[in-house]
């Protein structure tokens, strides 16, 4: 990187009225909605398992995770498949996929105080873009949602 300002590329998507992004390097692929195998007794954020070319991938419902209302039944979510540190892949179910956006690290800000609820914990920070705020998801926390669930249950 020769530019003085550090640039990052974020893969963006929307979930309800939130505009979210994850670093493109973490994204394995984006695929349209897939039939899923439901896992009974699993936490509600686990929507099911999909067969991604022979790889079994767990699909996590970002709406449920962020405490947002369920999407209308006729709107099928999109899979944003992100690579897991432990060589597993997980799919984040989002409403709509957006562009890949170049952002300047300098524009990065702390989590805005207006953001409340579960979303606050799952967001690293925000970029102020013209006209809208792009929230950066903490993918590690998102993937460890099962642990949070357990902690919340025992608390």
């Amino acid at each position: 990187m020769s530019e003085p300002a550090k640039l990052a590329q974020l893969c963006t998507f929307t979930v309800d009225d939130l505009y979210l992004g994850v670093d493109v390097t973490e994204v394995q692929e984006v695929i349209r909605y897939q039939a899923m195998t439901v896992v009974p007794l699993a936490p509600p954020v686990v929507r099911g398992l999909i067969n991604l070319r022979g790889q079994i991938v767990t699909a996590l419902d970002l709406r449920s995770m962020l405490g947002l209302p369920e999407a209308p039944a006729d709107e099928l979510p999109v899979n944003v498949v992100i690579r897991d540190g432990a060589d597993e892949a997980v799919s984040l179910l989002v409403d709509q996929i957006g562009d890949v956006v170049d952002v300047d690290e300098i524009a990065f800000e702390e989590v805005p105080p207006t953001l409340t609820g579960p979303a606050r914990e799952l967001v690293l920070g925000a970029y102020k873009l013209p006209g809208r705020l792009l929230l950066v998801l903490d993918t590690r926390k998102v993937q460890d949602v099962h642990l949070r669930g357990l902690a919340a249950a025992s608390a």
Partner: protein, 777 residues
């Protein structure tokens, strides 16, 4: 002893392993020596070289390759000096050492080809090495420079801290011994290395290449390719890589299945031909990859002769160990997993199964007991049998032991089949310290054996004939990577059940009026009556918290796990499939009920049910009820006293006895029956029990013809027991009685239609009163 032939058989293999290992070590040694030249004081390098040579020396001595041993011995001495700092490595010493490596390699080559050392010349190198150790005579020769640095090396860095403490002794030993071969060498020969080599009449050696640098060339026989065949024919591969290959091949096989399935519907001949070919290739590939992980069971068995021998000596028993099917192959990981259980079974057989020689002779058997290990493939599984011709297991003693240990009650025990009693030794808690000395007992930690075998999808069962011996049969799947599974449907999703747990499938249709099949409840738990046994039922829908399916029919998958039999009620049974087990992602790993996931033939993801977990639930649901017999129900305190015991008397008359004061069901044989006056009695738990024939009560002509008497024991508080003799006990039912007084007579309450049959309802109080008064008897 029995070890002898085993050893003879194994010799070739040991030599082969030795060769493979040594070739690898030698290659490493070449590298290390060259590296050492650049870094002459590197102790780790020296230590590693020393160890390698030491290993070869040790093994060659063991395998009686004497010259190889001699060469490496001298080499070892040189190396130990180097390592201790008494010598410093010079290019010349390095050269000599490399020559030694070459000679060793030549020896190994000859051994590989002929099985013996042949006549590879070793004297020259031995002398050269000896000269390094004792440089004085050599100093006069043109090779003198070689010796000089060595001599001056003595004051060089001597740190009295050998890298390897444990080899310290070995090093000193080596140094002491060094005098032996070294001494004669320097007296006889003072020739420099090159000349010696030139003179050497090694027949395999192509003479015109005497230079030290080229020693390697001459010792290569012409058929160089063959020489390396053993080393080249095997490579070490990371097991993780094999696992990955295995998994991918598994997926390929599943995809192949799909392709074959789809193309069968198409009319394209070319495509079908290609798919056929794909089919074959995939199968062969699968087989091939599976083979890479397969190893003969011999690997596990090889240490057993020793175990048997030692244990036999310790217990004062003579044991002949027979092994059949040692070449039977199974997956490496499984092999590892059965190692301890098998050893355990063998120990048990020697310790508890076989008798002492004197006892054997007394029993008319040869003094030497025979322990047979047998392995073979059977329907996709490997079966390993451990059998002895010892005393066999005594169900009575095992039963008593189980009662003493509180595993079963006497009542339960009395109703158990012999096989079930033997099975008690697999219960946790059966083994006790006392058990070890108990003559009859076997089963020290047998629960652990079963648990470990079941963990890898296997099963254990036991057969024993008192006085003739016992056989423990262990069944293990060939591989864990691909397993056969039953696919069931529940709530629109497919679930897989590993077939190892599967016993049978039962479907119960509702009756003609459209009412669903009746599910009975005993002690509040749903049960199914399966051939006289009560099977606790677990509903998959409930377990997975899914909505209940319609109940026009009941699909029961009868499963067995951890010694518990239970019925899993599913919506539908779909198919059987081969599946590749995949672990669950960490987000759902903690979710109960699933052992893994897989991709089924139609490309969907299906969850694999955790049968062991479900069986725990079944236990919780059914309590002690698991596979309880009708007889057991009666003693179950929760049994509703309003129940009816349906029995057959005479040819085809059915009677029902209200369960009120019925204590137990017993069987007596002819010989048990005694007569007190006109009355038949049996001794029952230290009391005399009067027998009342229900058949004669009903005025049926002729008594039972069998020599077994089924007796319903009635006992009212504190009174003497009374035995009602019937022909056969049929069933226990709970039903509202609609009595009709047709055919009412003394001793009967009336008749009713039970289970579609006209059944006389016995009036027990009247019968008891009559029996006490002597009537109706």
């Amino acid at each position: 002893m029995s070890d002898a032939p085993v050893f003879a058989d194994g010799l070739d293999e040991i030599a082969q392993e030795f060769l493979v290992e040594s070739y690898e070590n030698l290659d490493e040694l070449d590298r290390a020596l060259v590296a050492l030249e650049k870094e002459p004081n590197s102790r780790p390098l020296l230590a590693s070289i020393f160890r390698t040579i030491h290993t070869i020396k040790g093994t060659s001595g063991f395998l009686a390759f004497n010259r190889l041993e001699r060469v490496t011995h001298v080499g070892e001495n040189v190396l130990s000096r180097l390592r201790d700092g008494h010598l410093e490595l010079t290019p010349d010493i390095a050269t000599v050492l490399l020559q030694m490596v070459d000679v060793v390699r030549a020896l190994l080559g000859t051994i590989e080809q002929t099985g013996a050392e042949g006549d590879v010349d070793t004297a020259a190198v031995e002398e050269a090495l000896a000269r390094v150790l004792d440089p004085k005579p050599a100093a006069a020769e043109p090779e003198a420079p070689a010796a000089e640095p060595a001599a001056t090396a003595a004051p060089a860095p001597v740190e009295d801290a050998p890298v390897l403490d444990d080899t310290d002794d070995v090093l000193h030993d080596g140094a002491d011994e060094a005098d032996g071969p070294a001494a004669p060498a320097d007296v006889e020969e003072e020739t420099p290395v090159e000349q010696v080599l030139e003179k050497a009449p090694a027949p395999v050696v192509a003479v015109p290449a005497p230079a030290a640098e080229h020693v390697e060339a001459p010792v290569h026989p012409e058929e160089g390719e063959q020489r390396r065949s053993i080393a080249d024919s095997s490579i070490r591969v990371d097991v993780g890589l094999l696992d990955q290959l295995m998994r991918m091949v598994g997926e390929l096989v599943l995809t192949r299945n799909q392709v074959v399935q789809y193309t069968a519907d198409l009319q394209n001949v070319e495509l079908q031909r290609a798919s056929q070919r794909l089919n074959l290739i995939a199968s062969e590939l699968q087989e091939g990859v599976m083979k890479t992980r397969m190893q003969p069971i011999e690997g596990v068995w090889s240490r057993l002769p020793r175990v048997v021998r030692d244990l036999g000596a310790q217990c004062g028993k003579q044991v002949k160990l027979v092994m059949e099917g040692r070449e039977t192959e199974l997956d490496r990981t499984l092999l590892e997993a059965v190692k301890d259980p098998l050893t355990h079974l063998v120990r048990n057989a020697v310790d508890h199964g076989l008798e002492a020689p004197a006892d054997r002779l007394a029993a008319g058997k040869p003094a030497e007991g025979t322990l047979t290990l047998k392995a073979y493939h059977e329907s996709g599984q490997v079966v390993v049998e451990v059998s002895d011709d010892g005393r066999g297991m005594d169900p009575v003693r095992i039963g008593n032991k189980a009662v003493d240990n509180g595993l079963v009650s006497r009542d339960q025990l009395a109703r158990m089949a012999e096989r079930e009693v033997l099975d008690l030794i697999f219960r946790p808690g059966f083994s006790t310290a006392e058990q070890v000395t108990n003559v009859s007992g076997r089963g020290v930690g047998m629960d652990v054996v079963r648990t470990n075998i079941e963990k890898i999808g296997g099963s254990v069962d036991i057969q024993s004939v008192l006085g003739e011996g016992s056989t423990v049969r262990v069944r293990i799947p060939l591989t864990l990577a691909i397993i056969p599974a039953l696919v069931v449907r529940q709530g629109g999703e497919m679930y897989c059940i590993p077939q190892v747990s599967l016993l049978e499938l039962v479907r119960i249709e509702g009756d003609a009026e459209g009412a669903g099949p009746q599910i009975e409840h005993v002690a509040g738990a749903p049960v199914h009556r399966l051939r006289g046994n009560l099977l606790p039922l677990v509903f998959l829908s409930e377990q997975l918290e899914l909505p209940r399916e319609g109940r026009e029919a009941l699909n029961i998958v009868v499963l067995q796990s951890e010694g518990t039999q239970f019925g899993l009620v599913v919506e539908d049974v779909v198919d059987t499939q081969e599946i590749v087990v995949r672990p669950l992602s960490r987000q759902i790993k903690h979710v109960e009920g699933f052992a893994g996931a897989t991709i089924t033939g139609d490309g969907r993801v299906a969850l694999i049910l955790d049968i062991a977990g479900l069986s725990q639930r079944a236990k919780a649901v059914g309590g002690s009820l698991s596979a309880m017999s009708i007889e057991e129900q009666i003693s179950s305190e929760d049994w509703d006293a309003n129940g009816l015991l349906v029995c057959r008397v005479g040819q085809d008359r059915r009677v029902a006895l209200p369960m009120g004061d019925i204590a137990r069901l017993e069987e007596f044989s002819d010989g048990d029956i005694e007569h007190a006056g006109d009355t038949q009695v049996v001794q029952y738990r230290g009391e005399l029990m009067k027998l009342v024939h229900v058949g004669s009560l009903l005025g049926l002509a002729g008594q039972m013809h069998s020599d077994r008497y089924s007796v319903v024991v009635h006992r009212h508080d504190g009174e003497q027991p009374l035995g009602f003799v019937v022909e056969e006990i049929l069933d226990v039912i709970e039903q509202e009685l609609q009595l009709s007084d047709v055919g009412t007579r003394g001793g009967l309450q009336g008749s009713a239609v039970l289970q579609g049959f006209v059944t006389d309802i016995v009036d027990i109080p009247a019968l008891v009163a009559a029996a006490r008064g002597g009537m109706y008897v």
